[in-house]
Symmetry: C2
Subunit: 99 residues, 2 copies
């Protein structure tokens, strides 16, 4: 499996708009076993995203899906930057749904 842990920073006041776009555009991505979107109680503009994919290839392919490309284009002006970014190799646990 392939995993990602990342922090996105929304432009001031735009966090919830970015989250709405993320929630809608990521609901049905082939090979995506987990995709959790969270806010940070200590940082108003931060969005934590933790992902589990069946493979690196599925993650790469997701970025070419029309709905994901459209979401990236829509959200981009509201994204100020990125913080932490870690690639992982999930080995198991709870909530890894077989997509």
């Amino acid at each position: 499996m392939h995993g990602l842990i990342g922090k996105m920073l929304a432009a001031a006041g735009k966090r919830d708009e970015v989250i709405a776009i993320l929630l809608e555009s990521t609901a049905k991505m082939p090979g995506c076993l987990s995709y959790v979107i969270a806010i940070d109680p200590k940082e108003a503009d931060a969005i934590w995203i933790t992902e589990v994919w069946d493979s690196k290839e599925s993650h790469a392919a997701s970025l070419t899906l029309p709905e994901v490309k459209a979401a990236i284009a829509k959200a981009r002006p509201m994204i100020a930057g990125f913080g932490d970014y870690h690639t992982t190799e999930p080995v198991g646990g709870v909530g890894i749904s077989q997509g």
Copy 2:
């Protein structure tokens, strides 16, 4: 919802033993909606743990479960320390199972 993103550092050579204990002891925790255990391709002793709970209280309660307490006692000598640790508030996504 209540979330945690953390990095645990196993003692040298003990990562997989710690992971085996984690996988077994965390499979059935009330209120746990996601608990993903991952290795870090860049850091041999690191274990990333990303969690989603229905509430802070459920997470706190999990630490008092007999099987979790036993697992902590068993794993403790094999844990060298902790790295990143972030509390989050998950808002939705894929793989959040209603426990």
